[in-house]
Amino acid sequence: MTEPFFQVDGLNTWFFTRQGVVKSVRDISFDLRRGEVLGIVGESGSGKSVTGMSIMGQIDDPGRIVSGSIALDGEELTAFTFEEMRRYRGRKIAMVFQNPLMTLNPLMRVRDQMYEAISEHEDISRKEMHDRCIEVLKAVGIPSPEERLDAYPHEMSGGMRQRVVIATALLLGPDMIIADEPTTALDVTIQAQIIYHIRRQIDERGLGMIWISHDLSTLSELADRILVMYAGAMMEIGTTEDIIGSPRHPYTRKLLDSVPSRNTPGERLRQIPGNMPSLLSLAKGCPFASRCERATEVCSEPVPATELSATHRIWCYHPFEG
């Protein structure tokens, strides 16, 4: 296996609100290799999106990266100025969001938006820009890309718009793409098409990808490794085989168990009791302890990482047996 080119180490991103400090991301560490898809799974408030935004350098007031390192090919991203980061984004790291209408300008044709993305970073002829746009539009499975270039976003379906956004992310040949729930709003058949094309691009271009999602089913089919987050903290990380095949953390198990397709039709689902704790008033121990049936007194102490194998790490005092 190749060496990781991207590392996040001890990331803490907090929001200093009037109600108090919201510790959205606490001590997150992971790495990424070329040609690899890392899935980050979690529910609302787990900190998965804030992790993605932190990497992109897009945490605004009252939020701040309090500590930790984010490094791509040895370059420290957290040390960048605003202007340096602006030039870095798109060229080295691109991001795709859930709603393509938030990314696309409704008043511009696809061609103009894509050209603008290139000319911000590179000085090449219109012919070259055109060829490159056609190439990436084809790569994400857009039929008759020439016609699409002259379309406005509202003239396309949701699935087509999201493909344009992904194609735009590929335009400058980035090293990695962060995708935050990119197919969540799409229909199943369209989602399947997009995932197929993305996986191919990852493999062909040797891209690194972070795919943020609440949906374990999609991740199980797409990701090479999965990071499970809960209330801003890491619960478990491992290969997809580790996480789906032999989950050891009680939260991962419960999450998998509450998916309808893992239950007998017509019977009550195995639900997780209670709610996620408020990020304003977190104790120093395991954030899942209050909902965990295996929890004991020790769970109110800070939880260290346990290395189960070369690929599989877990933050729990009472993991399940493998």
Partner: protein
């Protein structure tokens, strides 16, 4: 078999798209542009028996939400009939609206709950108006319903924005239950919720159904949820029902090519990486649906006549109907 509680016969609903006074005026003088008509629901026939849960599944633009609103009686039909316990909706809507014991739960509780009313008013209002409880006793009545959906009694004085998404959906369900419906229509009621919260709400709906024998129509794009909750499932595509069968049968032996494609596309928790090429093609615009069988341009087994002939629903096994010209048997 239980008695029929609801029946829809050849139910259709069309919308004139982009119609406005100015456009109407222009059309009046120019006469060359008939208004664009969107057939959101096209000749749908369904039945629901007492205590049964019927799922309606389909992708964007298939008309499932329009169908839900017609069944709930909040949207008039363009043509076709709706019957509740054998009596036409027309008579309910004209004279005795509260005798139509149908309630609806929506996808987004925040936009379907009045933000300026307290939970006590949201849940209690209709019950008082329907004469189910005197105003003096409404508080106890509401507290009782709130406890059924797992909300604490002190919720009564709070506003919708003070609750989490899952709790808001509980409020939406409480409001629907407050008028003692016999039939509940859930339109994507769990779609916006996190997995663990979704499981809690699904369990709540199952408990309610078990305790009160409520009949349910459950509209969703999520096949996993449909499979879990429903006794029978109708699959819709561009306004039409293309297949209807008992849940177990539909999932184990789907016959319509669209149903098969939908089941194939459904993400499953597995260790098998998806390698195969998914079926190509977009969902066509409901404004301009393909001729004949709406599915024919994307269908792997379509023949020439599929573009000419509209397939009717026909029975291919007991209780299993589908609308395909080419698939003869399972």
């Amino acid at each position: 078999m239980n008695e029929m509680i609801f029946e829809a016969k050849d139910l259709s609903r069309s919308f004139a798209v982009g119609s406005s006074a100015l456009r109407d005026l222009a059309n009046h003088f120019l006469r060359d542009r008939p208004p664009t008509v969107l057939r959101a629901v096209d000749n749908v026939s369904l039945t629901l028996r007492e205590g049964e849960t019927l799922g309606v599944v389909g992708e964007s633009g298939c008309g499932k939400s329009t169908l839900a609103r017609m069944i709930a009686g909040i949207l008039p039909a363009s043509s076709g009939e709706r019957h509740f316990r054998g009596e036409s909706y027309a008579s309910f809507l004209a004279r005795k609206r509260d005798a139509l014991k149908v309630q609806m739960v929506f996808q987004d509780p925040l936009s379907s709950l009045n933000p300026r009313l307290r939970v006590g008013e949201i849940v209690g209002e209709a019950a008082v108006l329907h004469g189910l409880v005197p105003r003096s006793k409404v508080k106890d009545y509401v507290v009782d319903i709130l406890s059924r959906v797992g909300l604490p009694a002190d919720s009564i004085g709070r506003y919708p924005h003070q609750f989490s998404g899952g709790q808001r959906q509980r409020i939406g369900i409480a409001r629907a239950l407050a008028v003692k419906p016999d039939m509940l229509i859930c339109d994507e009621a769990v779609a916006a919720l996190d997995v663990s919260v979704q499981a809690q709400i699904i369990n709540l709906l199952m408990d309610i159904k078990r305790d009160s024998g409520l009949s349910m129509i459950f509209i969703s794009h999520d096949l996993g949820v449909i499979r879990h909750l429903c006794d029978r499932v109708a699959v819709m595509y561009l306004g039409r029902v293309v297949e209807l069968a008992a849940t177990a049968e539909l999932f184990s032996s789907p016959t319509h090519p669209y149903t098969r494609m939908l089941l194939d596309g459904m993400p499953k928790i597995s260790l098998q990486r998806r390698k195969f090429m998914p079926i190509q093609g977009e969902i066509p615009s409901p404004l301009n649906p393909p001729s004949g069988c709406h599915f024919h341009p994307r269908c792997p087994i379509a023949t020439e006549r599929c573009s000419r002939i509209r397939p009717e629903l026909r029975e291919i096994a007991p209780g299993h109907v589908h609308a395909c010209l080419n698939v003869e048997e399972q």
